[in-house]
Amino acid sequence: MKVICNDKTMEIEERTTLSELLAMLNYRKTVAVFINGKQLLSSQLEGYRINEGDKIKIIRILGGG
């Protein structure tokens, strides 16, 4: 199925979870995720199943140190 992730169209398998997508895109750090303009809560990140046409925004959290 097609989704838009950070303004780029991409093809992913149906029933892909957000965790799988993050791993696929090599996001290993803390992120914030917005689906169709609405931010997912931390408690929703793990099991969220992505739907056809979802517009996904992933923001990497880069802190101090």
Partner: protein
């Protein structure tokens, strides 16, 4: 049970007269300045007049820990050094970890105040009641590793911790630092130069016992929760595994890694080579720790025949300043530069950034090989780094100019060169871009001791979900608004900057590590900081009192600086921040000047400072029990 706040124990050393005495700071006074930077400022400024020379004998240099130091819990072993800074010419301070802090406290000391100037090189030896100034003539000119070895041999004991300067401090380089364990630095503000100006090579403390908590059960419940917290905290666990440098490649991919002296935020040719993950996979020998800390974020690297593990390994700031700032893609040369700075006692941020400035000046034709001692000072020349660092520390050739720091060196070259510098109050910016983190940029501008990345929380944590630990903790400070990106600047962001600046100021007062204790992503949050004070010390405190402690410190520095002639005109970000970045995903990005200026004015209002002068008002100083500074 009521516990009176403990008295502070202060060791006064007059280096001109060679006298040493101890003084007790009453608990009711100590509670206002309960350690670290606040205590250092109070003790340093009490009898210091405005206008004194930072490298003259009237500058007071204070080493301080806190009332909490020595308790057996993670993130609690930090030592602060305070003096008037030769780099900013305002009040300066700097913090370092390791084991020196806890053993300074174990000798019964909360602060060591060093006044005057010795007529010959000395070091201060402390073993309980045995406190002596010892001849350091044979140590002068030695690099830190060598001096440490000689001191241990002379004393015939290994059970000591040593904070010392290298040749950089002896030769009064404006950004010389103080090093303990040969790899922990009180890096910023040139505190090593102040120590060198006093002919003080080192402070040596004998090892002692840790402090016992007042409420053992409550305290150890807090302390032992650290492993579970680490398990659940991806940010801090990542710091432990990959070090502070773990995110470097990510910064480049987002377009916010300062590169080629801040002309671009994108470093695709080198970021992967110098990131913490590559370090972990290649040259990392082991992970080191500070006293009683479970995080183990400290890097120890080894490159046989090139980089000695004694000198630790590069942090993120060091990898950026010697790597991307200079366009250097070699982790080995970055690690060697880190080693050289720790050997010679130089702040890696100011040193790397000053070299990056010189590289851009060279590429733009403002200086040439006749000035650079024949060195081809183009971006990317990693081989030049160790040569230049040695020249800086010894003030030889171009090193004499680079030792001034980038801003002062640029002033000798003219306005065009000054426009290439990236400093606030003449101190070089760390590697977090205000274009990406505008609240951090605001604090860079208004911070009394120059640009600092550890003086407030960073903007991206406000993008976390509202149910995240980070946001829930920030909400405890009244910071509830979330954002969809890190770049936005508005009224709530200004309050975020001011409130978290106060919080971080409290941490620098209590000498708590900002990776373990903090207002959002760290292992322990606001509730636990209060709990630590209660169970560890019996201090019946509140978040309100602790935040006021932090606010008092910031105001002390601003009030002193105002007497030195600092105004809001000194709260300026460099031109480069408002100049479009070139290339990569952030091509053309600038920080919006209008919103930044608006934010500064609102900040002065929130802080209770005079908007025209940028200094604390009389009522603000009185509110903070600082009427003695009027």
């Amino acid at each position: 049970m009521y516990n009176k706040f403990p008295d502070g124990k202060v060791l006064n050393v007059n280096l001109s007269e060679g006298t040493i005495n101890k003084e007790v700071l009453p608990g009711d006074v100590y509670r206002l300045y309960p350690g670290g930077s606040s205590l250092g400022l109070y003790l340093a400024m009490k009898d210091m007049k405005p206008g004194i020379e930072p490298l003259g004998e009237n500058n007071n240099l204070v080493f301080s820990v806190s009332a909490l130091t020595g308790l057996p819990i993670s993130g609690i072993s930090r030592v602060n050094v305070t003096a008037k800074s030769p780099l900013t010419e305002g009040m300066g301070d700097s913090q370092a970890g390791g084991f020196f802090p806890v053993h300074m406290k174990a000798n019964g000391l909360d602060a060591i105040v060093l006044k005057g100037k010795s007529d010959k090189p000395v070091y201060l030896y402390i073993d309980g009641e045995d406190v002596q100034l010892k001849d350091a003539s044979a140590l002068w000119g030695k690099v830190t590793g060598e001096a440490e070895k000689l001191i241990r041999e002379e004393l015939g004991r290994d059970d000591v911790e040593i904070a010392q300067i290298g040749p950089g401090g002896e030769n009064l380089v404006n950004y010389a630092c103080i090093i303990n364990m040969c790899n922990r630095a009180n890096g910023r503000n040139g505190m090593g130069a102040v120590m060198g100006s006093k002919n003080l090579k080192a402070i040596v403390v004998a090892k002692g016992k840790s402090q016992k908590p007042v409420d053992s059960e409550g305290f150890f419940s807090l302390a032992k929760s650290v492993m579970a917290r680490l398990e659940e905290n991806g940010s801090v666990a990542g710091l432990g595994k990959f070090g502070t440098d773990g995110d470097l490649e990510g910064f480049s991919e987002e377009g916010f890694l300062p590169t080629n002296n801040w002309t671009t935020g994108y470093f695709p040719e080198g970021a992967k080579n110098i990131t913490g993950e590559t370090m972990y996979d290649t040259i990392l020998k082991e992970r080191d720790t500070c006293y009683s800390c479970a995080v183990r974020c400290k890097r120890v690297v080894e490159v046989p025949g090139m980089v000695d593990p004694l000198y630790g390994g590069p942090e993120y700031e060091t990898a950026a300043t010697f790597g991307s700032y200079c366009g250097v893609t070699s982790l080995e040369y970055v690690s060697l530069a880190n080693q050289m700075c720790n050997m010679y006692g130089l702040d890696t941020i100011s040193c790397g950034a000053t070299i990056a400035f010189a590289m851009e000046a060279y590429e733009k034709g403002l200086i040439d090989r006749t000035v650079t001692d024949g060195i081809d000072l183009k971006f990317g020349n990693g081989e030049a780094l160790p040569v230049l660092i040695e020249k800086i520390a010894n003030k030889e050739g171009i090193g004499r100019l680079l030792a001034l720091g980038s801003y002062r060196y640029a002033q000798t070259l003219g306005e065009e060169a000054v426009d290439l510098t990236v400093t606030v109050k003449k101190q070089e910016l760390p590697a977090h871009m205000p274009q990406y983190k505008p609240a951090v940029g605001l604090v860079y501008a208004v911070n009394p001791f120059g640009a600092d990345h550890q003086s407030s929380e960073h903007d991206p944590f406000l993008v976390m979900p509202e149910d995240s630990m980070e946001r829930r903790r920030l909400a405890q400070l009244g910071i509830q608004k979330g954002y969809e990106d890190p770049f936005t600047m508005d009224d709530d962001k200004v309050r975020f900057a001011w409130d978290t600046q106060k919080y971080f100021s409290t941490l620098d007062t209590l000498c708590l590590c900002q990776f373990v204790w903090g207002p959002s992503w760290e292992l322990y949050g606001p509730d636990e900081m209060v709990e630590l004070c209660k169970t560890g010390l019996g201090w019946e405190t509140s978040l309100y009192e602790l935040m006021q402690v932090g606010e008092r410190r910031i105001n002390m520095m601003r009030a002193f600086n105002a007497k030195e002639g600092f105004t809001k005109e000194d709260d300026l970000l460099p031109k480069k921040i408002f100049t479009p970045l070139k290339g990569g995903p952030t091509d053309g990005v600038v920080l919006d000047k209008e919103s930044h200026e608006y934010a500064k004015n609102l900040y002065y209002d929130l802080a209770g400072w005079d908007k025209e002068k940028g200094s604390p008002t009389e009522s603000t100083l009185k509110r903070l029990s600082l009427q003695w500074m009027l």
